[in-house]
């Protein structure tokens, strides 16, 4: 493990029920790097991401989190009555950040028009954009992304890929579980 690693995991193994999901998974995320998690549906990509985030305890192995991380998952954390602006305000405050950056952020994510629409009336893509906007509320070196491209339209994808590129340029790292084409340069692929 290099001294500058943002996050590293050694020999991770996981059992769910009676089934061995994966074992012997090791990875090291350095600044500016991107790691892609690959596997069939149900192979345990989400579980591995949850282990890396510290939400789930692995059966074997250990994770060293040297830097704070963002968590973007399929379950986006939006409440049915919550608006994109309300959601971002809540998490900006919860993370001790100023709320002044929210207006430009809504604009950047092209959420200005539905900014006051309750999440239950938003499309899947708009919800995903709202969740992805959290990445910019606070500057955290590690992004853990679970299927971030699903539900996004062509324009949304370009937006996210630009965000990822800018983040890596600033020395941030990304670990993503993506089913289709990654559409960005990756440094390491973990097959489970």
């Amino acid at each position: 493990m290099s001294a500058s690693a943002l996050l590293s995991a050694a020999d991770i193994g996981m059992i769910r029920g009676e089934r061995l999901l994966f074992r012997g998974v090791s990875l090291t995320l350095g600044p500016g790097e991107a790691i892609l998690l690959r596997g069939q549906n149900g192979a345990g990509k989400t579980t591995l991401l949850r282990i890396l985030a510290g939400l789930t305890q692995p059966e074997t192995g250990s994770v060293v989190r040297a830097a704070p991380h963002h968590w973007i998952a399929h379950r986006d954390g939006l409440k049915p009555h919550e608006t994109p602006r309300g959601h971002l305000t809540l998490w900006a405050r919860a993370w001790g950040q100023s709320t002044t950056a929210i207006e430009p952020l809504l604009d950047k994510m092209e959420l200005s028009r539905p900014s006051d629409v309750p999440a239950k009336h938003l499309s899947a893509g708009q919800r995903q954009r709202t969740a992805l906007a959290r990445l910019h509320l606070e500057n955290r070196p590690v992004w853990l992304l679970d299927e971030p491209l699903t539900a996004l339209d062509g324009h949304g994808k370009t937006l996210l890929l630009d965000m990822i590129a800018a983040h890596r340029e600033q020395g941030g790292g990304i670990i993503a579980a993506i089913h289709g084409d990654a559409e960005f340069e990756i440094d390491m692929q973990v097959d489970i």
Binding site: R50, A53, G54, L55, T56, Q57, H69, W71, A73, H74, R75, D76, G77, L78, K79, P80, H81, L90, W91, R93, A94, W95, G96
Partner: protein, 221 residues
């Protein structure tokens, strides 16, 4: 560690309680309904009603608290916000305590505030005792909601976990119910009962958050 995540969790839980429209009034309706139906069942003798009134309200308060316990954590576990709260760096116990306190404020405290009116319907005399009893119901209710929060956290990922929540919560309610009812009677042990009621509530406030925090971590695992 800053208190910002804890305050935000508290504020969100307060907001969510009112977001569902009249949902916050459900326990109030249940509480008042139970109390109103009892005289129909036991007859209208004023002396009987005056004797059983405070106890009936304790039972109604305990049962009304069960009605909405599911709401404290279940939606959070389903929509993914529980994952986000657990990653804020704030102890899970403090997040759980903030959410439970907010839930008690919107669901439990209104019941205590309603109690003087219901006691009047049970032929209680107008006087300072009504306010004193209100205080007992408020304090005892706080214990109910914190113990109930433990069972709600344990059942956070169980679909239709209402029955499970009740089964876990009801035994934990027993000390509060006993001391609460004693505090309002005039038996030989009534003088010390308010102190025991307060002690059992403080015990709940001190212990329950850690149990909730551990249960929520387990729910996310």
């Amino acid at each position: 560690m800053t208190p910002a995540p804890i305050l935000s969790a508290f504020r969100q839980a307060l907001g969510e309680a009112w977001a569902g429209g009249a949902g916050a009034l459900l326990p109030v309706g249940f509480f008042a309904g139970a109390a109103v139906l009892v005289p129909l069942g036991v007859g209208t003798d004023p002396e009987t009603l005056r004797t059983i009134g405070p106890g009936i309200l304790w039972v109604s308060l305990a049962l009304s608290s069960l009605v909405t316990l599911e709401r404290i954590f279940q939606a959070d576990a389903e929509d993914g916000s529980l994952d986000l709260w657990l990653q804020t760096g704030a102890p899970a116990a403090s997040i759980a305590a903030a959410k439970t306190l907010a839930h008690w404020l919107t669901a439990g405290l209104p019941l205590a505030l309603l109690s003087p009116f219901l006691l009047l319907m049970f032929q209680a005399q107008i006087g300072g005792a009504l306010l004193e009893n209100m205080l007992y119901y408020a304090f005892g209710g706080l214990a109910f909601y914190f113990w109930g929060g433990v069972s709600a956290a344990l059942a956070a990922t169980v679909r239709r976990g209402g029955l499970l929540i009740s089964l876990i919560a009801l035994p934990l309610y027993v000390p509060t119910a006993i001391f609460g009812a004693l505090a309002m009677g005039d038996g030989p042990s009534s003088a010390a009962a308010p102190l025991f009621l307060a002690a059992s509530t403080l015990f709940a406030l001190a212990v329950a958050p850690f149990a909730m925090g551990a249960a929520l971590r387990l729910a996310a695992d």
